[in-house]
Symmetry: C2
Subunit: 299 residues, 2 copies
């Protein structure tokens, strides 16, 4: 099997496993209050790439762990990611009517339900992280994972990054400022996904440290790739219009560096990510392949 | 010291201790992003009664525990309560301009910052609950507390209750429906406050079960007292106008039962709460006094 075939089969398989687990963990959409469960389901199953849970599972396996104990953690990361998208799309924030080609939560369910669905998904992530599992896992380890994820989602991470991102007077007019915003807004949760998978697997500090190098580079790479796609992506593959960053005058890696230099920077981060985990054996193949996917993805 | 003097001194003392701890746990309001830290501080220090953290500490002490290990849990409960107030006040929800006599978060900082401040407070509560403490406490116990609080704040509790409360076609036209809405919206977090304090103190299942009876009754009592105050409270003491429930046509215990029967029901719940912890020794005096305070409070 060549690289592309492996990647496609791997991502498809993992996406399916993660979505089956999400179905198991989320209460059915007919539970009361139905409007809230309905809104949660709508956004959780709106067709994401599941990249955070897949990274968490891949990191666990790269460290010799099983997928099963990492699955609630992987799904909690996806619930947190989904909540952040719902709240980011709200009229008071980015005011987006569509995401992944579908109407956003507040367009379908109204603003109040969208705010509450986000609140509920964030909270249920911590229910999932803390609840008694059939899988036996040291409480210390689970507590450390909760701390890692809460910090990544909190003010030092994702929420703080979103606050920086919606500033009228931005401080990201240069690469350092832009990178700091994205490190918090998207990088922190990607970092937590990789580290928590390794922590669940009981990885050594040395391995976790190597994986942190990997995660910090793919976090930035993910955003650079997004910015490049927004300039020259294929609209039919992406399910949304390109060029919106330029129309809105958004500062991006593409606008700051130019398209060619942005591509060079992207490739450098991917190489650095893969180099960071050079000491890992073949069980880290999925992590290496995912890094390449981040660079080469078309949507 | 008579009952009223003890109560006043006790609540004042505990409020001060809790607020000092909140100051220690929250990052300073000048941290970046300042707009977000500022909004978090504004609402956390807007003058709440701190009843949830005080209940948590009192439950720990009633079970023979110290206050210190319960303090991060007590403060996390207050952060969650504060987040829920900020989001409930949003234009898309209850659209309230004032709370405790001060402009609400979105009136001061704008909607986007208010949404994010709520998100951040909810998330930081779990940072606080999961972070390594100087106080040594079994990880299993801390994990159980996180689970208890996450479930109480989540869709089975507070968020679910808020969704029921903002329904256009409410199902609370009778006492059973109204009680179910309030059990989730406010009762669940009060229950978690009492139970988590006991859990931190390492209380027996029997004691936790007795405290749950106490908590379920004061949870309902708290809401009945609120409804009565909305009819006949002293506006100058409450810092807000009375009669708003009647103007809005809200279904309340007062509107469903009538004022006199609501007062009888309130007294019955307080008696039942105190009876629930009859087997506790004098260390449960604060819990008994708090129950009376809920009935007798003027604001």
């Amino acid at each position: 099997m060549n690289h592309d075939d492996f990647l496609e089969a791997y991502l498809k398989d993992r996406k399916k496993i993660v979505e089956e687990a999400l179905e198991r963990y989320l209460p059915g959409k007919d539970h009361e209050p139905r409007e809230l469960h309905g809104a949660m389901h709508y956004s959780v199953f709106a067709g994401g790439k599941r990249i955070r849970p897949i990274l968490c599972l891949a990191a666990a396996e790269a460290c010799g762990g099983d997928m099963a104990p990492a699955m609630p953690v992987a799904c909690a990361l996806e619930l947190i990611h989904t909540y952040s998208l719902i709240h980011d799309d709200l009229p008071a924030m980015d005011n987006d009517d569509f995401r992944r080609g579908k109407p956003t939560s507040h367009k379908v369910f109204g603003e109040a339900a969208a705010i509450l669905a986000g609140d509920a998904l964030l909270t249920e992530a911590f229910v999932l992280l803390s609840r008694a599992e059939k899988v036996r896992l040291a409480a210390e380890r689970r507590l450390a994972v909760i701390q890692e994820i809460a910090q990544a989602a909190g003010i030092a991470g994702m929420v703080g990054g979103q606050a920086l991102d919606i500033r009228t007077e931005k401080n990201d007019q240069n690469i350092a400022g832009l990178t700091e915003t994205h490190r918090r807004k998207t990088g922190a949760l990607i970092m937590a996904a990789v580290k928590s998978g390794a922590m669940i697997a009981g990885a050594s500090d040395e391995k976790i440290s190597a994986l942190s190098v990997y995660a910090s580079h793919i976090g930035i790479a993910f955003q650079i790739a997004d910015d490049i796609l927004n300039v020259e992506g294929d609209e039919s593959l992406m399910g949304k219009k390109t060029g919106s960053d330029a129309v809105l005058g958004k500062v991006t890696y593409a606008s700051l560096l130019g398209l060619d230099a942005a591509k060079v920077k992207l490739a450098q981060h991917i190489e650095a990510a893969i180099a960071g985990i050079a000491a890992f054996d073949s069980r880290a193949l999925p992590l290496r392949v995912i890094a390449r996917y981040i660079m080469e993805r078309k949507s």
